[in-house]
């Protein structure tokens, strides 16, 4: 029987295969490919590395190497992003590899053409190690996480009308039903999607309209349950890549900074390379489908993990997948304001302009020394996606900069919020059920109940406020460090009224008071009856000869 890639495990054949194009050797100052290949084999476990002649232009060579190898994951180190993607994907499928699990690293524009040879070689090693980590973290895809994209020819001919136009495949998000909190009322992904591609179905599920979806990934980073995968940039892949870039094998790349690059915006960096600009090798590109994915948590957590700086490079195009550049601007502005409040350099987080190559080169031209060198005393837990990660990043940075600031930063793009409760809460729990991240909860004991709030879990989504029937819940888009450090605390305490007949819970005391207020004194008999007995005993008493209502 032919092999199945899914069965391949460490120790049984090769786990990851890295292929490097020979042309990288002579591209600009170039790369020392033999050295890179030997380093990868020696340092990164279960990796086979090969230098392949003219790889970028010979997809058939890729196919042949795929066939010969037993690797479960493949990383291609190429001269540019301009490679035969559709053909490579088909060759991958042919041998049972997941096409979206094949990682491509643009070693030409990111290393060979913009840095001195030794520096470029070290940076290439780091990028390839991170790509291997990312490829290994690929969770797999299913038919629902792929969509065919047809490129319709603008010039219509009779022949073209009867011919299938060129077909490509793009990854789209897929929701892991077991982890999705739709049943609990979570609608964060639908609220985040700029194209309204995620909507509740008649069957009571959150479903994706693939035609509308542009694959920007905004829902992936917004989901508080990390229940959404997008092949190529699933949460575990991004976490693995960032971890390897900041905490991987020791290499003389220092300081390190993370550059989140829109996959459609890479030509700006290629433009730098072509025009002979250089910038510090510590800028480590992380390609994502759209900068709409990048949250304040990503930007700040990377700093917390030891990055000297983080930056966002959007695409050049007007037809941005996300289409909400102001959101990205707002998120970066928030990060800068928060850093400023801490007394940290706000310039540690930057939004770059891809339109002017010279300006871009200047913006990337310097890197500050980080307070803590990447790789030394850094937090080990690299997580960018959960609400807890946000709290850890914010508190970690406050600690890192030894900031005495314990106030709050009010900002519309604050990734956390603070729930405030005005008098009048009836403990109905509507807000608890609406909260997608578990920041609000109701705790009960024999005597009563307590509505609690944990600022460390709040994502500031504001789902709780509109569902409150008493309109006493208010969410402030505020980063309040003292509240974050405080953890769970009580917002409202209430008594539990019990049935005089059987002892079962009747309702919270505040709720009954509210009902009493609504009914007034005109119907005090009914009021007394419903506040003393549970629903079950009320029926028994009314129809079974018990004491009549007072």
């Amino acid at each position: 029987m032919p092999r199945t890639r899914e069965d391949t495990t460490a120790g049984e054949g090769l786990e990851a295969l890295v292929l490097l194009c020979t042309e990288l050797e002579g591209l600009g100052p170039g790369l020392d490919l033999e050295h890179i290949s030997g380093w990868l084999k020696g340092v990164v476990p279960a990796v086979e590395a090969q230098v392949v002649p003219d790889l970028c232009n010979r997809p058939e060579e890729i196919a042949e190497t795929f066939r010969r190898s037993r690797a479960a994951r493949v990383v291609l180190g190429l001269c540019s992003r301009d490679y035969p993607q559709v053909e490579v994907q088909a060759h991958a499928r042919r041998v049972g590899l997941e096409p979206f699990g094949v990682e491509v690293v643009n070693l030409g524009a990111y290393c060979a053409q913009v840095h001195q040879r030794s520096e470029a070689t070290d940076k290439a090693k780091l990028l390839l190690e991170a790509a291997v980590a990312k490829a290994r973290a690929f969770p797999g895809s299913d038919p629902e996480s792929v969509k065919p994209v047809i490129s319709w020819d603008q010039t219509v001919s009779r022949r073209a009308l009867f011919t299938l136009p060129p077909l490509q495949y793009e990854p789209v998000p897929s929701i892991r039903r077991g982890d999705c909190a739709f049943d609990e009322g979570c609608r964060v992904c639908a609220k985040t999607c700029p194209r309204h591609a995620l909507e509740p179905s008649e069957q009571g599920l959150m479903v994706l309209d693939k035609l509308r979806c542009t694959g920007c990934g905004a829902c992936v980073s917004a989901c508080p349950q990390t229940a959404i995968d997008l092949p190529g940039v699933s949460p575990q892949q991004i976490n693995a890549q960032i971890a390897a870039l900041l905490n991987g094998a020791p290499l003389p790349i220092h300081p390190r900074a993370i550059l989140f690059v829109c996959a459609r915006g890479t030509q700006a960096l290629e433009g730098l390379a072509q025009e002979g600009f250089s910038y510090p090798a510590g800028w480590l590109p992380v390609e994502i489908p759209c900068v709409g994915m990048v949250t304040p948590t990503w930007l700040l957590q990377c700093l917390n993990l030891g990055a000297a700086s983080t930056a966002v490079l959007p695409c050049l195009r007007d037809d941005c997948r996300f289409g909400q550049r102001e959101v990205t601007e707002g998120r970066v502005a928030y990060c800068r304001e928060f850093l400023d409040a801490l007394g940290a350099p706000p310039d540690s987080v930057r939004l770059l302009d891809p339109h002017d190559v010279g300006e871009l080169a200047r913006a990337l031209g310097s890197l500050p020394e980080p307070e803590r060198e990447a790789g030394k005393d850094r937090p080990r837990d690299v997580a960018l996606f959960t609400p807890q990660a946000t709290a850890r990043a914010l508190l970690g940075l406050a600690e890192r900069f030894a900031s005495s600031f314990d106030g709050s930063v009010a900002h519309p793009y604050s990734p956390v919020g603070v729930v405030q409760l005005a008098p009048g809460c009836t403990s109905c729990e509507a807000c608890v059920h609406a909260c997608p991240s578990g920041a609000l909860s109701m705790e009960r004991d024999e005597e009563g109940r307590a509505l609690t709030f944990d600022a460390g879990l709040c994502i500031g989504c504001e789902a709780c406020a509109p569902v409150c029937p008493e309109k006493v819940v208010r969410v402030e888009k505020v980063t309040d460090l003292s509240r974050l450090a405080q953890g769970k605390h009580t917002l409202h305490l209430d008594s539990q009224i019990r049935c005089e007949a059987c002892g079962a819970p009747v309702a919270p005391g505040a709720m009954l008071s509210r009902i009493a207020g609504m009914l007034g004194s005109e119907d005090s008999g009914t009021l007394s009856f419903i506040t003393r007995y549970c629903t079950s005993c009320r029926g028994t008493l009314m129809f079974g000869g018990g004491p009549p209502p007072e």
Binding site: N57, V86, A90, R94, G96, P143, P148, S151, L211
Partner: protein
């Protein structure tokens, strides 16, 4: 760095893809649906021989098929089917019975839409609705077919028939008819197969220790999902907004 070959590939409308006539695509899809339909009927000896022969032909076309994303699921099926020639027919028949019909250990995975679509609704309604759809297309269930209208094989065979109509329309250069056939298939997949088949396939994957029917339903599900998405994209492109029509 980039050679003429790259430019040539780009100029030809995409890497690694030969221009594919819509009629040929429809004929291929017609055959694929028929194959899946056949594989989900009771595996009589002659039927199995046909399936094995077709699997061999498909394996020869693997380089072409790998251009489509559903090949990831098909590859496993082709491996399984090619190994069928050495398997005892009685063993496959027993696997079929245990998975779909009678099993002492668990409830069988019923290959009927009504088993998935009618939870809490009017029993029998699905079959009535399907018979109406078949009649609207000029079809009726053959008396020799001992299956209900909502059996997976019958629904797949119906889509195969619609693909054939589409192929005929393209071959006769009848654009409007071709587009109508695309819309009809798209609607049927959306309303029926893509709603229940994934759940059915998942149950089979959980229960099928023999792996043959798990591979069949996984590949069929991958193909149905791909087809639903491809047809939507084609219909949208041909529509008034798509602007592909002159």
């Amino acid at each position: 760095m980039r050679t003429d070959r790259t430019e040539h590939r780009k100029a030809n409308g995409g890497y690694g893809q030969e221009a594919l006539e819509l009629a040929d695509l429809a004929r291929f899809r017609q055959a694929a649906y028929r194959l899946f339909s056949t594989m989900l009927l009771y595996p009589e000896e002659e039927r199995l021989k046909t399936v094995v022969a077709v699997a061999g032909e498909l394996a020869d076309q693997a380089d072409f098929l790998a251009a489509f994303s559903f090949f990831i699921q098909w590859r496993e099926l082709l491996d399984v089917l090619q190994g069928l020639s050495g398997v005892n027919t009685a063993a496959i028949q027993e696997e079929c019975v245990q998975i779909f019909m009678v099993n002492p250990d668990y409830a069988p995975c019923l290959p009927y839409e009504s088993a998935y679509a009618e939870e809490g609704s009017n029993p029998g309604w699905t079959a009535v609705e399907l018979e109406r759809e078949y009649a609207a297309a000029g079809l009726a269930l053959a008396s020799s077919l001992r299956e209900a209208p909502d059996h997976a094989a019958v629904e797949l065979e119906f889509v195969s028939f619609l693909c054939k109509q589409e192929a005929c329309a393209w071959e006769a250069r009848q654009v409007e008819k071709g587009i109508d056939a695309l819309k009809r298939q798209s609607a049927f997949l959306e309303e029926h197969l893509s709603r229940w088949f994934p759940v059915f396939a998942r149950r089979v994957a959980e229960k099928d220790s023999g792996k043959i029917y798990a591979a069949v339903t996984k590949a069929a599900q991958g193909f149905i999902t791909h087809d639903r998405d491809l047809l939507k994209a084609l219909v949208e492109g041909f529509g008034p907004e798509g602007g592909a029509l002159p």
